[in-house]
Symmetry: C2
Subunit: 344 residues, 2 copies
């Protein structure tokens, strides 16, 4: 459900349950959590310290034990209220509580609305890497209230826009152009514009998830920009914002596709233009591309197999391999040549 | 797959995977694990200290981290080799490792062969109760080798027979009679008898699980005897064997059904006779039934809702309520009256 004002109507949108557990980080608990706890009968509010650093097994265990202390049973329901960290963490708590209780995702950041809350991926980070422990747990309902974005800082809005630009890049050229044109209205938080943005992005994400929840095929297309983005995040010790990393990742992967002779040469410019309007970094300079290439390989080591890339044919269209695969095996020297476009 | 000698053929029965992780307790690792590790290429053997006390989130975390240390990726496969504890614990590790990798269940106790390894329930115990954290994760394959039972102690065989008797009681009177007649051959470990026993029990369990993995309906029938069994186990601080508890639980629940006017009055005697032949406790004496009734209520407190009982109509047939439910709401005073049959 995507609707302005839906947060206040949440009590009427929940599945029947014996009791409800709202899980939020400390910030969102203050802004929205306490208010919702008053609105929802038989509800408990559990909060955890904000930040990706707390998306851990230890926090999962603590939240689970708090639910047990409150005698939440199989007929309980979890409400994940917050950004991507909360969606993932609270989703994993729900997925494993008495072998699974329903979760209602109530994302409060643009990134969570169009990405983390959709598609059923839940999980936590471990020292060896991000999201390495988790489960697929499709939410019972996803309730998105664009009005919530009024309290979201501009850079968080940019952070989410990177994924929206990705949706345009992989599936809908007209949407990408619309995002560019509408950037002003988006930052002004015009509610109809935000609603359209969220609706189209959720549609595109859902198309790729549908019938491929476990990412055996087309769901992989959603990883466009992400192979490089993960490497950039890891090189920055996760100080680079996810949206910034994805934006730069898309630029670089469009170049990689061009070097491969697969991607239309105008794609990079179209992405760069959109990133600029979304107030995201639209340039990067490498003295030496080697550390980045090494960082993509370490991701491979943990996740197995080879380093795979999603490549565009042109804006709005994914390039499939001759065998019909959604991802490409790209030799390191091709990546290296693409990175030379970004050297001084 | 139920077949004598299948353990040695295991390497040919596994799904394609980049690497394999055999998870076993310390005892089974010695008896079968090391041998299998030699047979299976690209395999690792992880073991944990035997016993239900180790079916914890901490052990789940340790095993997960060991898999990460071995760089097992999404294309890895877990082999759960052992009894019920291993099926549940290794199954949960597989269910949550990178959001789920395939698990092959290789049960080595009769109880695990006909119960824990079938049906996809995985999980761990927490201080608040057993199996309160977990996930549904259907195994890729279940490989059952009756020859493995040659090294299983007699009391462990009895432990498993309690569940087989339950399968007869809820679904197949002729099967219950066959178990009684075949008890001698079972304890002599005659391989064809064991194969028939396992096959029929797996068939019955699968019938009830099919189409109801999450226990919304008919799967609940498999809990016959278990409401009382859980209370007896908890009263004994889990020193009572699960099979003994289930056996006594079935006797008492047959009496409860008789007091309710639902269960044929000959059912208790049929169950008692079979328990005797299976070398399981077939009598119990209560000075005072109150602690037992209180223990059933504490289960309710954690799991939610009311105390529900599965009642027989007669041996081989479950009694459904007027509304068609598979479980019955039984007032405490009915339980109390049934327990008087077992008082001095």
């Amino acid at each position: 459900l995507i609707e302005a004002g839906s947060l206040d109507r949440l009590p009427h949108l929940l599945p029947e349950a014996h009791s409800y557990v709202i899980i939020s980080d400390s910030n969102v608990a203050e802004i929205h959590g306490k208010h919702l706890q008053h609105l929802i009968p038989r509800s408990h509010l559990l909060s955890f310290a904000a930040g990706e650093a707390n998306k851990t097994r230890e926090m999962w265990q603590r939240l689970t034990d708090e639910m047990l202390d409150h005698h939440i049973a199989r007929d309980g329901c979890v409400i994940a209220l917050g950004g991507g960290v909360t969606c993932d963490l609270a989703g994993f708590v729900a997925a494993t509580y008495m072998r699974g209780v329903p979760v209602v995702q109530v994302p409060t950041s643009l990134l969570a609305m169009i990405d983390a809350a959709i598609g059923g991926k839940t999980g936590v980070d471990v020292p060896a890497g991000k999201n390495l422990v988790g489960a697929f747990h499709t939410p019972h309902t996803v309730v998105i209230d664009p009005l919530v974005l009024n309290t979201l800082p501009d850079d968080e809005l940019s952070n989410g826009l990177a994924e929206a630009i990705k949706h345009g890049a992989i599936a809908d050229r007209a949407y990408l152009e619309w995002i560019e044109e509408s950037a002003g209205a988006i930052f002004e938080r015009r509610v109809h514009t935000l609603e359209s943005l969220i609706r189209r992005s959720v549609e595109i994400k859902s198309q790729f998830v549908e019938g491929d929840v476990r990412e055996a095929g087309k769901r992989a297309a959603l990883n466009f920009g992400h192979t490089i983005a993960h490497a950039l995040e890891s090189l920055s010790n996760f100080e680079l914002q996810h949206g910034s990393a994805v934006g730069l990742g898309m630029m670089i992967e469009a170049e990689i596709g061009a070097v491969m002779g697969v991607t239309d040469e105008h794609a990079t410019a179209a992405i760069t233009g959109a990133l600029h309007r979304a107030r995201l970094p639209d340039s990067i300079v490498f003295d030496n591309g080697l550390p980045l290439i090494e960082a993509t390989a370490s991701d491979k080591k943990v996740r197995g197999g080879t380093v795979r890339y999603v490549l565009l044919e042109s804006i709005g269209k994914i390039a499939r391999t001759e065998r019909g695969d959604w991802t490409w095996d790209v030799p390191d020297d091709v990546v290296s040549e693409a990175l030379r476009q970004f050297s001084v």
